[in-house]
Subunit: 271 residues, 3 copies
Amino acid sequence: MNTSHKPIPFPRSVAANWLAQLREHSPLVHCLTNQVVQNFTANVLLAIGASPAMVVAQQEVADFSAVASALLVNVGTLNDDQREAMLAAITSANKAGVAWVLDPVAVGGLTYRTDFCRQLLTMQPTAIRGNASEIMALAGLAAAGRGVDSADDSLAALPAAVKLAKETGAIIAVTGEIDYITDGQISYALPFGDALMTRVVGTGCALSAVVAAFVSLKQGNALEQVATACLVMAYCGGLAAAQSAGPGSFVPRFLDGLYNLQPHQLKEKTA
Amino acid sequence: MNTSHKPIPFPRSVAANWLAQLREHSPLVHCLTNQVVQNFTANVLLAIGASPAMVVAQQEVADFSAVASALLVNVGTLNDDQREAMLAAITSANKAGVAWVLDPVAVGGLTYRTDFCRQLLTMQPTAIRGNASEIMALAGLAAAGRGVDSADDSLAALPAAVKLAKETGAIIAVTGEIDYITDGQISYALPFGDALMTRVVGTGCALSAVVAAFVSLKQGNALEQVATACLVMAYCGGLAAAQSAGPGSFVPRFLDGLYNLQPHQLKEKTA
Amino acid sequence: MNTSHKPIPFPRSVAANWLAQLREHSPLVHCLTNQVVQNFTANVLLAIGASPAMVVAQQEVADFSAVASALLVNVGTLNDDQREAMLAAITSANKAGVAWVLDPVAVGGLTYRTDFCRQLLTMQPTAIRGNASEIMALAGLAAAGRGVDSADDSLAALPAAVKLAKETGAIIAVTGEIDYITDGQISYALPFGDALMTRVVGTGCALSAVVAAFVSLKQGNALEQVATACLVMAYCGGLAAAQSAGPGSFVPRFLDGLYNLQPHQLKEKTA
């Protein structure tokens, strides 16, 4: 029997340690992301204690990703210029030993981005973060994606995530009502977050940037680091949602929460 | 005598019905819009109960607009790549029977976008939403536009809107202190909204996206649907402005208001 | 002895006058800026009483910058298309006597943007606003920039700012914990602002847009105008930070503060 299909709870004391390290190192995350979420992604990284940088030109990306702490590649508004920049940045990051994270937004129905993401799977991503539809599509299993929303339950995508982890060596995070994070052997389940987060654009995209920030930490256990990123975002999201009248007031509370989050809070029973 | 020049009040009970339908169907709006307002537009659509998707590459737009519920075309930061993508997306939307909406930002003084928007008028837009200067310029009448602000009163543009509606078959919305919505025969006047909305970038652009969401609803009366979009935004804008100390606190309150808006509220006398 | 290295306090009564004039003229600022901060920049300009316009296509920029009140050039996400648009816009602005402002984001480590900004120095910018690393790099002095954050103290960059002012004829603003503004002869020090502003993306970029708005005012003393822009932003930033629980709640309060700021407040001792 394949134990990887039995997700286990993530030890939250581990997360507290990684958050403390993130605050200490303030990793510089080179973001090649979509046009819609650049501002929110940058503000989430700043709030959590990392530094964002959106350098996009083909003349600059390779030099920059080599000196960044981590690289984020998000294909939400992919075009030809960005595709070339992403390939150059990933090649440079890999050569320099810089971790990189893939967010395969809306992969599945659209051939252009799906083919590109399949190509990226051969370039050793450190982690991949997507919703159920996206992870199932990437793994070559059936998916019912409609644009950027996930029409599939995250648990249904866990077998696809395990397959993808084994094939690529990447940590896979399938996020949804419950988040699942797997390295193909061990799978963590994180039952946090709040449905209100799906009414704010970019919460998933920003999570992928936070994943990049955590996997940049050295001597790391990448599975733990990806799970920590998911826990931090879900924990703060749940707290902010509980205090908010809707998606508008959620955003400032969420950013304040990330900014004020203390590592020890992650160990507690709340949220 | 041309009755279309005598705008009448919009029956608000009709709006309640369309809002209920929008919530039920959660239309997927393919947005080809300007760089400045993408995030806010997406958050407005999510708050109201629709789903946004910004797919921009020429390799993807035609496939995507054919399966979307509606398409938005906003020329605020038009460039050659986006122009080609817009033409491909509109052609595909028309073939698939998908409604599309034009937002002719800053048309008038700038030849490049003005020529392009005139070309788009021949491609059967379902609706066009602009301020007085833009609608007058599109109709070939005098306008005094200075960038993206409207220097003309919306009532002064009603004849231009009627002319444009008759020539193109589109529903025309001229928005300003009072919004006018016309199909060339019947013209509705909506005296809501608040001047504070002009101090927040993208309220007009986001309204055009909401227009797209409403005109996607099937078996529809497009005139009623466009008026409903204007009413919903002006109603929630007025409420949020009354509670806000300025344009900063307006945004979260406005999004919360859209999210919490119940159809029956639109029938009431308030706001 | 070079007196320019002894910064003096900025007379705040002067700032009140310029703010009143800005409100009266509502300058139209043509922004060629980076993808991350376009929305925030536009909202800051609207809140303070100016009008933003982001016209980006090479077919339009020259016509538009000639009729705008001022032009902003920010290289944060520079690419080849934008570079050509910037050159065309600056050339047109100079011909029409329209003031223009350079924000040399992350100049120093990246050759592509550094070479471009050096080229722009020969095109008579009215003002340049950057952090210490950027100003030192532009002046050809040592800098330790890491992406978009300033690793150098703003006072350490004052000699570089003075040198740059003398060489280019531009007013130079080096912003940080304390802001320094110099024309190469007189240097003002503004000890306001708050560290929380560094946890919100785009506060520096938006300041550069506000600098453009102020230097558009006619018959002006550009040194005073640039200092006023820095004072207004730092004053409102300090007030908003004092009322905020973090960077999320800072943004709406900051925008409300800019919107509600009365000229006479700038003369008072507070903040």
